[in-house]
Symmetry: C2
Subunit: 571 residues, 2 copies
């Protein structure tokens, strides 16, 4: 079978993968690799694995017109591809995926999981290493790969792709052809279509409550906080590699654990994979907020603390197993086991919805869809605004430390030069002496004010920039969450039509509706959580920003008053 490449894919080194380029023709040699991978060779006779999603079979289906993989975000507007000659859909016998301990790993491209040591390899304190190279050493295809006969596996790792399964040919309401829709990629579609079953443990359930027709995540039973403190430079490999470890102490246990940025990064990925409708705030990036290493480390500590607070405040995230493991596990072996368990967690992506318990007898108001549409537009505006605030704040932070500081130093200098000149006059009088002292005081005052600006960014524009950074992670994730929601309600509409036309039985429709409603409830719950958080966060940040600014200018006033006192009054 010949296929044409739609999207570029870059092979991991030594992974058995094949780099492929758009327009290229490939010959497929195996389709039974599993996990969405096919094997084939290109015109240069290079052989290897590539994502089946990234290619299109030449004689059969035309790929949708997608200008680039980045146009994903518009995909939820696309109409679902309905078979022009529909027949009755049978959902009677979906192949269940049964949960259990020693599950195969459905995430990530083929890699030798056994090879990584739970110690994250080595890195410098600035976390510049690419995690990918760390994870793919070895390159053999793992024997733990998903067998071919598994039905439409969910892919939550990178690259996101999905196997076109032959088992689905019976369906008349087809899965979306847009392979890059987040709805599809996340497994949301498979969930809606009821293609996923899983025995969910009681303790994995997440509840949504109906608070006067406002749907919310059920609040956590107890709240706690986690402090991020004492960043320490540590090293290994006899000092060849050094990194910063932060001490995390949950308020309930009081037992500190040591975590590196890389651990946060891993956690962030787990949370993103698992919580399909919950946007995860961004971790601090490599943007430095201070010029010195100490400033950098302290700046990052503050950002990590804020990130940790945000997780603690989230009723779902704060109760998740992976998070609790992250903030409590001290033992190296247990850490390794917990880590592996988290990576093998199957209740991720689309299956996440299986864990959600919605309020009984609740109804979804008819204005929900326009409301969520409006919310998405609001998120777009807020994303623009936070980007803008972030940029201006970063700029101001830097300017405080350079330009503003220099401005005041310049004023300081003109006065110190003046008093020097005055001291050289041959006509020295008491008045002249007092004037010189006064001018010197003015000069040192302006120097002090300049120094105020040096540290000022910690108090106003810094925290503002940090919040914006966190929010941007949340805001940029929303369009994909919205895609899943839109995908779900479109599927619902589509199947309603199929039912109306007698192409679907009522049972199947009820199942679809129920599952689509779970997605809606979860989206609403997260929207409401977001909105509560937003109002609180911005109240706090506006106050702290203004307090920071106020204290700067009050300080300046105090300094200037002292300088004025030192100038002799007019006789």
């Amino acid at each position: 079978m010949k296929v044409v490449v739609l999207y570029e894919f870059t092979a991991q080194p030594n992974s058995g993968e094949l780099s492929i380029y758009p327009q290229e023709t490939l010959t497929v040699t195996r389709q039974d690799i599993g996990d969405g991978w096919w094997e084939g060779f290109n015109s240069r006779n290079e052989k290897g694995l590539f994502p089946a999603e990234y290619v299109s079979q030449i004689p059969e289906v035309q790929a949708p017109i997608v200008t680039s993989p980045n146009s994903n975000h518009d995909a939820w507007n696309a109409e679902p591809n309905i078979n022009p000659k529909p027949s009755l859909v049978s959902f009677s016998n979906p192949v269940p995926i049964v949960g259990g301990g020693n599950q195969t790993n459905p995430s990530s491209p083929p890699q030798t999981i056994e090879q990584y040591d739970g110690d994250w390899g080595d890195d410098d304190w600035d976390d510049d290493d690419s995690q990918a190279s760390e994870f793919t050493a070895g390159g053999e295809i793992s024997s733990s790969m998903t067998p071919h006969n598994q039905l439409a596996p969910i892919h939550v790792g990178l690259p996101h792709h999905k196997q076109q399964s032959q088992q689905q040919t019976a369906q008349t309401v087809k899965k979306s052809i847009n392979r890059f829709s987040h709805f599809v990629k996340s497994g949301g579609e498979d969930y809606i279509l009821g293609l996923k079953k899983f025995n969910v443990n009681q303790h994995d359930y997440i509840h949504i409550i109906d608070d006067n027709a406002i749907f919310k995540w059920s609040p956590s039973y107890f709240s706690y906080s986690v402090s991020v403190e004492n960043p320490k430079k540590e090293s290994k490999m006899k000092g060849l590699k050094s990194y910063i470890a932060y001490q995390l102490t949950p308020s309930d246990t009081g037992v500190p654990v040591s975590r590196r940025y890389k651990h946060f990064d891993w956690l962030h990925e787990r949370l993103q994979d698992k919580f399909t409708t919950i946007p995860i705030p961004s971790l601090p990036d490599k943007q430095i907020s201070g010029r010195y290493q100490e400033d950098f480390i302290e700046g990052r500590r503050i950002q990590l603390q804020s990130w940790v607070n945000r997780i603690c405040n989230h009723p779902v995230l704060s109760q998740s197993t992976v998070w609790k493991h992250f903030i409590t596990c001290k033992d190296a072996k247990q850490w390794k086991n917990g880590k592996r368990r988290a990576e093998k967690d199957e209740l991720v992506g689309g299956l996440f919805f299986l864990t959600i318990q919605v309020p009984e007898n609740a109804t979804i108001s008819p204005d929900t869809e326009p409301k969520l549409d409006k919310f998405s537009r609001f998120i777009g505006k807020m994303d623009e605004s936070t980007k803008n605030i972030y940029n201006v704040s970063q700029e101001m932070s830097k300017r405080y430390q350079s330009f503003y500081k220099r401005e005041f130093l310049k004023t300081s200098n003109i006065f110190s030069n003046l008093s020097e000149a005055f001291a050289s006059s041959p006509v020295q009088s008491n008045e002249n002496e007092l004037l010189i002292q006064g001018i010197n005081k003015t000069s040192s005052t302006y120097e002090s004010i300049g120094k105020l600006f040096d540290e000022q960014h910690w108090a106003d524009f810094g925290p503002l920039a940090n919040l914006m950074h966190e929010y941007r992670g949340v805001l940029t994730a929303w369009p994909e969450i919205n895609q899943v929601y839109k995908g779900a309600i479109n599927k619902k509409k589509e199947h309603k039509k199929a039912f109306d036309e007698g192409r679907l039985d009522e049972n199947a429709l009820t199942g679809i509706n129920k599952r689509a409603d779970v997605v809606t409830y979860a989206t609403l719950a997260e929207m409401n959580h977001f909105e509560e958080e937003r109002v609180r966060d911005f109240q706090i940040v506006m106050r702290s920003f203004l307090v920071g600014q106020l204290s700067l200018y009050q300080n300046i006033v105090k300094h200037l008053e002292e300088a004025l006192e030192a100038i002799p009054p007019e006789q």
Copy 2:
């Protein structure tokens, strides 16, 4: 006689003058023009008048090595040129210049004084016209020119130059060969050598008092102030020409007079010509302190007011006839007469010293010379410093109106965008509404703060820049004043040596010493006046600067406090 041109001289149009260029050879046709002018023609057969000072006779005397006319300031270090074969000097019969009403006019190059109308010609409000072209319309050589046989006329107009008079050949202690020394140009040398006599009227006398061995200008009998107010745009020639007239009101008469910038400029020139040891503060120049015409006019009014105050505070300048004429004369005809009288004033330059009455029985302390040397170095430092302050202040004034204003507007904008985004959320709550209002208040606060900066320069850096500007006029004049002093004491030393060697009689020496001491007393009096003024001026400006800055930052604090109040407190 052939001469070579040493310095460039540009002829006034239609004046009968000849433009001459360095290295050019001229043929002299007349040396009896008077007032320091010779007539001759160049290689292109162009004929006209040129300053005899600017050329050197080819076969006879080598001109001193002077790189450019601007090297004047070093000239006072030059050794006086003592005749190697001295004989006894006779000062017994100097040719006196007798004062009187209808004197010839010894100032300025040939020009048709009768032709200018006392109305100053036309100019635009920005005074861009060159005054020169106004004064020289006509171009015939006036019949009122100084006759050839007058001894060594004093030139106080432009260009400064001096006639080498044949009558001085009897002297063995020669006049300085450096024709560009300010000591010589100002007529200071002629005065010291006793070559000038004049009957000074009682009311023209200027007294120096001995205040515990500190020599001071005798304080004025009564002090007064002059307000500069109500700048008005006026026009003439049926509106073709417009200008700004300021209303000057002396506090003692209360009668306002109307003066234009050009009148100030004329006055400034008169004062500079007359008061050889008194530096005259600079008038406001074309540097604008505001962007709009209104700002420009108001800025200039403030500067003129300050300049007028400075004249009023000076015990000598405030009592001068030309100044009193300037601030009181209302009648057009009287104004014209007074103006002409001032221009014909002969007690200018070197003759100014004839009007100075020094304290009897006073002695000049031996540390006077090093003290005045130190003072000159101090003036140099202060000149540097004021230049620096002026530049930074101008820069800051501009920056307040542009950069700083923009900075705060930028901060205002990020918040107004944010509140707009928040208003578009579908989840509207009372908390959100209050937050939006709070953020809007913050936004308008930053806008108001930006506007504070727009007008701020009037309160701090503007007045600072203005004072520096005035002082620079004073400071840059000092080196020439110091030259006159150094010239005087060098002449004194030189004649003491001549006396010691029996080449000078005691009478002549006493005369020289007395006159040199007058210069010393006057220089000390002005130094002491300067120093008193300086301490007072800088006390005032430092206080007003700090008060201006303080009020800015207090205003910012007030605004920020209001903004903070508008943000709902954390629940």
